[in-house]
């Protein structure tokens, strides 16, 4: 990380094995030898325009998803659908009928959370199974091509899944000191 600073330059004893390694590499590896020759040319002032063209563009930093909204959604799913309770249980000890009963609570609660906090619409309005054609420049973020993906757009294929898209998100606003890490408060009845 700090290799360009003077104090990080290698010492004599560090340089010794490098020198021997380089000696044998120059003898045995023509490509390496060519790079050493280039290295020994007097340094030329690089043309800034050329540098800009050739220097690799650093990728845009990845987006950090903030945990707040995710934790808030988990809290809502626990409150209305008991999702955390459900996933923390060991299903092996219960019959399918017992699990099925509770699945109703879960299903109804999840529906409520999704309905109240998101507007979810299909990406494609066509019926599943129908043929459709994607023009050039279609939104590859919203449509996934599968199977015999060859040739040029327009692409014609059949719709296997309509896709889902959130068109509106309505999460509750939080007070400044609200602790979203508490997904469900412990309850103490007095």
């Amino acid at each position: 990380m700090t290799s360009s600073t003077p104090e990080a330059l290698p010492s004599f004893f560090q340089r010794l094995p490098v020198a021997f390694g380089a000696f044998f590499s120059v003898l045995g590896n023509p490509a390496f030898a060519a790079r050493v020759i280039a290295l020994r040319q007097p340094a030329t002032v690089a043309d800034p325009a050329a540098v800009a063209k050739t220097a690799p563009v650093a990728p845009a930093p990845m987006k950090e998803a903030t945990p707040d909204a995710a934790l808030q959604l988990l809290g809502l799913l626990q409150r209305d659908a008991r999702l955390i309770d459900f996933t923390q249980e060991d299903l092996n000890q219960y019959s399918d009928a017992d699990i099925g009963g509770v699945a109703r609570v879960l299903h109804e609660g999840c529906c409520k959370v999704l309905r109240e906090h998101f507007t979810i619409t299909p990406v494609r309005t066509e019926a599943e199974g129908s043929r459709l054609t994607l023009p050039a420049g279609f939104d590859a973020r919203a449509v996934r091509l599968t199977g015999n993906v060859v040739g040029q757009a327009p692409f014609t294929g059949s719709l296997c899944h309509r896709g889902w898209r959130v068109t509106e998100t309505r999460l509750p606003k939080l007070a400044q000191n609200h602790d979203v890490c508490v997904l469900a408060q412990a309850e103490v009845e007095l």
Binding site: I99, G101, L174, A175, Q176, H178
Partner: protein
């Protein structure tokens, strides 16, 4: 007042409030630009969500119960109570700190509605509030929600209509107006809820209503909400080529609604569980009530469903292990809801005070008879002659009819989201009509059961400015004061009470009735209490009519009224002769004034005097 941009309508419901608006400047004639305000409210500690409805619940938390900032609203971080969804859900678990049904308390003549009595069963350390204060806080929340969403059109510069049950007596109307004023409402009008529902229907039809009704129609509005049932009858007549709507009668105040139905079903299921040896704690009972409501809606909307599973999850983190599973069958729902609340009675049926179905809360005068159809039969029977004097109806009303024959029905309220209940009510009514060889009534379709009242109220605020049809009719009751008859005293017998009409039926807003024929002597500094009566059937009584006797169901005691003459400029004990003046105000309240015969000084006569003597 500068010209308001919006006409705001507020449904101040027993279980939910809603706010709708019409943009006056963007509306023309019967084409209106309108919307519903999504109301920010606490849905969990420290979490504010916007919902179309504001549950009419208020929670008074313990000082250690919540963390700092948990009650923060977009417009306040100092409020020490919660209103809305969080109040409802938290209060379900701690009912001793929950104020609910404040509206029913506001019209309960048996209590002092300005006194801090709610929550009714709170322990002494909870700082209670009055029914008036609770209503004020709901209204204030709505005002602040509006101001936050519309900073450029402040609430107090808009035209505001607040709805009340048609059955509200003058005291409850006055208290609602008082709550609104305390909440900072400056331009206020009160409107009866069934009328608001009809206005909403008119608005929704965008002019087509003129084809859907015709002169001679009598529209019955049946409004069964979460906590109350409210009926009104509105006649359609023609004057100078224009259709006119006249509200001819309103029903009694009936504390009976959808919540009673869900609770009754929950008790049916709980009994069935008890047979299996499973008992439910109060928390599970509430969850069961909610599960029953969902199952009821599914079963009533799909007659082919035989049963619906009911699951009450355990309260602890062990979700599956502690869950209680049972079923609600189609037959149970039909027996309980249809036969219990909408029985197919005949037109001569009257309400009884025997049965009590699904009534839980102490203190409020819940309806003794759970049969909505019986309440309806009683109203129509009582109002058989309601249209006899109305222009255009004289020849039509059948002298043989044992009840008033509606020709069209508009349903409103959450209960009628179920088509089965609409069909049952309509078929019962049509059974009565067929039995008297009358045409069956038709249904006026197309209402949004949750928001119709708020929307209709906003539309009313708009039509009041001169655009579109208005429902007329004036006051739905005649009012009387009790006077002791001047017969010679007979030892051991109370002198019989006479009733003196001081406000005749159908007083239009903005009119006055001066009762000059009788003077009352008031002692200065000493409150004078008079008995006060109302009648929803005595249309013929005029100002000053003195009744010696009446049928028990003709006049209803409405609590006492009271006048106190201040001592300023007089001596205590001085006797002042006054007459009484009744005014139907533009706001929609009735005002009683005592006017001194000498000098013309005036004093307000107060309704709702219980608790002050």
């Amino acid at each position: 007042m500068s010209t308001p941009r919006f006409a705001i309508g507020i449904d101040l419901g027993t279980t939910h409030c809603a706010l709708a608006y019409v943009d006056i400047s963007a509306s023309d004639g019967e084409n209106t630009s309108y919307g519903v305000l999504d109301i920010p409210q606490l849905t969990a500690p420290g979490s504010v969500d916007t919902l179309a409805l504001l549950p009419s619940f208020l929670y008074l938390p313990h000082t250690d119960e919540l963390a700092a900032g948990d009650l923060t609203l977009p417009w306040s971080d100092t409020q020490d109570f919660a209103v809305g969804e969080f109040a409802r859900s938290r209060g379900a678990q701690t009912p001793i700190r929950l104020v609910s049904s404040a509206k029913s308390w506001l019209c309960h003549p048996g209590v002092d509605r300005r006194a801090a009595i709610l929550p009714f069963d709170a322990p002494p350390e909870v700082a209670r509030i009055s029914p008036l204060e609770a209503s004020t806080r709901y209204l204030s929340h709505l005002r602040q929600a509006w101001d936050q969403a519309h900073p450029e059109d402040p609430f107090d510069q808009q035209d505001v209509t607040v709805t009340i049950p048609a059955s509200f007596d003058p005291a409850a109307r006055e208290l609602t107006a008082e709550a609104a004023r305390a909440a900072g409402y400056t331009h206020l009008t009160l409107l009866e809820e069934p009328q608001a529902a009809l206005y909403n229907w008119i608005q929704g039809s965008a002019g087509r209503w003129r084809k859907d009704v015709k002169p001679g129609d009598i529209i019955l509005v049946v409004d069964v909400g979460g906590g109350t049932s409210d009926f009104s009858l509105i006649a359609v007549l023609e004057r100078e080529g224009q259709l006119e709507l006249h509200r001819v009668a309103v029903g009694d105040h009936i504390l009976l609604g959808g919540d009673n139905m869900d609770l009754t079903l929950a008790h049916v299921v709980a009994r069935q569980l008890a047979v299996d040896g499973k008992t439910l704690d109060p928390w599970q009972m509430r969850t069961l009530t909610y599960a029953c409501r969902v199952a009821k809606e599914n079963l009533l909307s799909d007659a082919t469903l035989k049963t619906q599973a009911i699951v009450v999850p355990s309260r602890g983190a062990k979700l599956i292990g502690g869950a209680i599973r049972t079923e609600l069958s189609q037959a149970q729902v039909r027996t309980t809801i249809l036969e219990g609340f909408f029985p197919q009675v005949d037109a001569a049926a009257r309400t009884t005070s025997r049965t009590r179905g699904g009534l839980s809360q102490l203190g409020l005068p819940y309806a003794q008879d759970a049969g909505v159809t019986r309440h309806l039969a009683a109203l129509l029977g009582r109002q058989a002659g309601a249209t006899a004097e109305l222009a255009g109806f004289a020849g039509k009303s059948d002298a043989e009819a044992s009840f008033l024959h509606p020709t069209a029905v508009l349903f409103n309220g959450g209960v009628f989201k179920s088509d089965v209940l609409i069909e049952r009510t309509l078929s019962t009514l049509n059974g009565w009509l067929t039995a008297e060889k009358a045409e069956p009534a038709r249904m006026l379709a197309g209402a949004d059961m949750d928001l119709a009242v708020a929307r209709g109220a906003a539309y009313y605020g708009y039509v009041r400015r001169g655009q579109g049809v208005r429902i007329r009719g004036g006051t739905a009751r005649a009012y009387y004061v009790g006077v002791e008859s001047s017969m010679p005293a007979i030892p051991g017998i109370e002198p019989p009470m006479q009733a003196l009409c001081l406000a005749p039926f159908g007083m239009e807003e903005g009119t006055e009735a001066n009762l000059q024929t009788r003077e009352f002597g008031l002692w200065v500094g000493e409150p004078v209490v008079l008995r006060f009566f109302g009648s929803s059937v005595r249309r013929q009584d005029t100002l000053g009519t003195l009744l010696d006797f009446w049928q028990p169901d003709e006049l209803q005691a409405l609590g006492d009224i009271q006048a106190t003459l201040p001592t300023e400029g007089r001596q205590v004990g001085e006797l002042v002769q006054v007459t009484l003046r009744a005014t139907a105000t533009d706001t929609g309240t009735l005002e009683l004034t005592a006017v001194a015969t000498q000098g013309g000084e005036r004093w307000k006569v107060e309704f709702d005097v219980r608790g002050s003597h």
